[in-house]
């Protein structure tokens, strides 16, 4: 049958099960929008294209599905670059459609023309420029396949205007088979058997899990394995929620702002089982001092992550879920018993680290940001979906909110993109309409995509925003305090809007707490509201995130409160 490019696109999107698109129209995509409104796909009109990408990102993480965006050419496309780079660093499956000028104008410096394929080449898993409508169905199907297979990532498709509005003979695209792309899912069984041998012999084992476990949907298998073999578990920032935070084997987050016991255990362990991680510099600190006493096993689906930063004893390329399932089966086949007695001294040492150096802060007569997060955790019973901005707010959220399930902690880890939290919360709320979604923000970060408040209001999304307001660019100020003799160069954000009035200007509820005894009241009122709420907590201005591993130091050498 004869279809235009835009009509064909709608067909393939339907076949791929797309139910939500985050976007912003423009001339180059007006034909696509014309067809979009004829379908059952929900479109969320944002207020800045960066918001569209972060929202699709939040949606993808909360739902475990590919997030989809639609933007126009030129500035619409360039506005997506930050969001795409963040999704690329965190391996989030996204498909971003950008409009492009008609094919005969490409390369002509046309109105709203930009080489977005060239610009996003280094920060997408792959990207395409569709030159003729006949190619569109195959490319879209391929893009969805690439976005969610192997190590997931964002894929961009640039669609010239004449491709969307020209008719062609449509045939449904065939199943994707790429001879140049064949990720390895099944791990090498011989290597896995070697791993089990090491596990049996280890006196002080530690599991280090990351975002890969969550992307692979393997947290059940991970939890089973850790409990069966009584191995304490730590995760990276991206892995929070992969293992229950309330489990006695939980060590807390590892790394620059990780817990004392997580970092010390890693330094003292004799076996480190790394699953779905990439050994980022925030985690390792000084690489040649990282897990210096341990044999390291590294299971990851991406071969480039293995042996990139840290030498390993047993590298295994494979999918986390498949690998952990196989390990669990090996335990059953060998009839291994829970080594509770053998593990007791190691567990005791870890308890000691936990008891002597717990996460702590001093309560004074100003509101402490850590207290706000603790109260939030308590009042939501740890069940909310939490998105964060970046910096101190992000670190306190990671430290003081304990996650028992995956897909509940949504943060820009690899890129560390301020302004991520609010649009990501919008995406998460669209993905999980019945859940409570809270964005933990700083006063600096929240202003970067504050315009998305209008998006939330337009679609009746009752997102809650908790602003830890210290009138500073907090994390940079902390570094300036600790390493630059308190020379606060350009980090004092003395001028800020009245967030309560700003919330009300958007039609949302605005609340403020200025004293510690107001915190619980404000949180209760805000969380129980059926509307969007912004809660402005005026917190102590010079609070620091502890523990902290100074840049370049081993993670066992932390600055403590």
């Amino acid at each position: 049958m004869k279809l235009t490019g835009a009509q064909a696109l709608m067909r393939v999107l339907k076949d791929e099960g797309v139910d939500t698109i985050f976007g912003f129209p423009g001339g180059a995509v007006i034909d696509i929008y014309d067809e979009l409104v004829k379908t059952k796909i929900k479109h969320v009109l944002v207020r800045h294209e960066q918001g569209a990408v972060h929202a699709a990102d939040g949606y993808a993480r909360a739902k475990g599905k590919v997030g989809v965006c639609l933007v126009t050419s030129g500035p619409g496309a360039t506005n997506t670059v930050t969001g795409i780079a963040s999704a690329y660093m965190d391996s989030i499956p996204l498909v971003v459609f950008s409009g492009q000028v008609p094919t005969h104008l490409i390369g002509n410096d046309a109105f709203q023309e930009v080489d977005i394929v060239g610009i996003t080449m280094p920060c997408t898993k792959h990207n395409y420029l569709v030159k003729k409508p006949e190619d569109l169905p195959r490319i879209v199907k391929e893009a969805f396949y690439l976005a969610q297979s192997g190590r997931p990532g964002p894929v961009l498709i640039d669609i010239p205007k004449d491709v969307s509005n020209t008719a062609f003979e449509y045939t449904p695209p065939k199943a994707v088979k790429l001879k140049s792309y064949n990720p390895t899912y099944k791990p090498n069984m011989k290597q896995l058997k070697k791993v089990m041998q090491l596990v049996k012999e280890a006196q002080r084992p530690v599991i280090f899990a990351g975002g890969g476990v969550i992307l692979s949907k393997a947290s059940k298998e991970l939890t089973q394995f850790a409990r069966k073999m009584q191995i304490p578990v730590t995760t990276s920032l991206m892995g929070l929620g992969a293992f229950p935070g309330s489990d006695p084997l939980w060590l807390g987050m590892i790394g620059m702002h990780g817990t004392y016991r997580a970092n010390m255990s890693t330094g003292a362990c004799d076996l480190l089982l790394a699953v779905g991680v990439r050994f980022d510099d925030r985690v390792t600190g000084k690489t040649d001092a990282f897990a210096a006493q341990a044999k390291i096993v590294h299971i990851d689906i991406d071969p480039t992550s293995i042996r990139k930063n840290i030498p390993v004893s047993i590298p295994i390329v494979g999918d986390c879920k498949t690998s952990l399932e196989s390990l669990n089966r090996l335990i059953i086949d060998a009839k291994l018993k829970k080594p509770t007695r053998a593990r007791a001294p190691w567990i005791k040492q870890i308890q000691e680290w936990r008891d002597t150096r717990p996460l702590a802060y001093e309560q004074t007569d100003t509101i402490k940001p850590q207290y706000v997060v603790e109260k939030l955790y308590e009042l939501t019973k740890g069940k909310a979906i939490i998105t964060t901005e970046v910096g101190q707010n992000q670190m306190w959220a990671a430290q003081y909110y304990h996650f028992d399930q995956p897909n509940h902690f949504i943060t820009s880890g690899g890129l560390g993109c301020m302004g991520f939290g609010l649009p990501a919360a919008i995406g998460a709320q669209m993905a999980q309409p019945k859940s409570l979604v809270v964005d933990i923000a700083g006063d600096g970060s929240i202003q970067m995509n504050i315009q998305e408040m209008a998006t939330a209001m337009q679609y009746g999304l009752p997102v809650k925003v908790v602003i830890l307001n210290n009138r500073y660019l907090g994390m940079v100020r902390q570094w300036q305090e600790l390493f630059y003799d308190k020379r606060y160069a350009c980090t004092n954000m003395e001028c800020a809007p009245d967030f309560v009035k700003l919330a009300e200007a958007y039609g949302a509820v605005g609340l403020r707490a200025t004293k510690p005894d107001e915190v619980e009241k404000v949180l209760k009122k805000g969380l129980n509201s059926k509307r969007m709420v912004v809660m402005d907590f005026v917190v102590a201005p010079e609070e620091c995130v502890y523990p902290m591993v100074p840049a370049g130091a081993p993670i066992t050498e932390m600055l403590l409160v």
Binding site: S180, Y181, T304
Partner: protein, 162 residues
Amino acid sequence: MSKEKHVLTMLVDNQPGVLSRVANLFTGRGYNIESLCVAPTIDPAISRITLVTRADLPALEQIEKQLRKLVNVIKLRDLTGKEAVKRELALICVRAKPEMRAEILRIVDIFRCKVVDVGLEHYIIEVSGNEDKLTALIQLLKPMGIKKIARTGVVALFREPN
């Protein structure tokens, strides 16, 4: 660890932008490309890229893995030190004053290469062979004065075992 020269050969989809992706990978991650040669193979949908890079072994392992990760790269092999035929072609424009012309022609004869252009003051010499041959010829011609040179960079094929 010392940086050594490595010859990589790869088969890639013959599509616009593929060369750009490979080159971008190198610049983006701070690896170097000493030379690069690309052309379609017998299958018009597939091109071969022959690339020379200088790196130590850990960096080389990363380079190879990152290249294989590219969706358009079908196959990759490191031909350094392997049984492979490696050749390069160069066009050398050498200054040819009357008193040097005979000497230059003698060198051309010894190296079994060709003169493909003649002028009052110059010859353009076409030479192909392995890297050592080209280096030796260039060394001999340098004292005469090499005006311009265009090299293709290495192309190579693995010697299949019987």
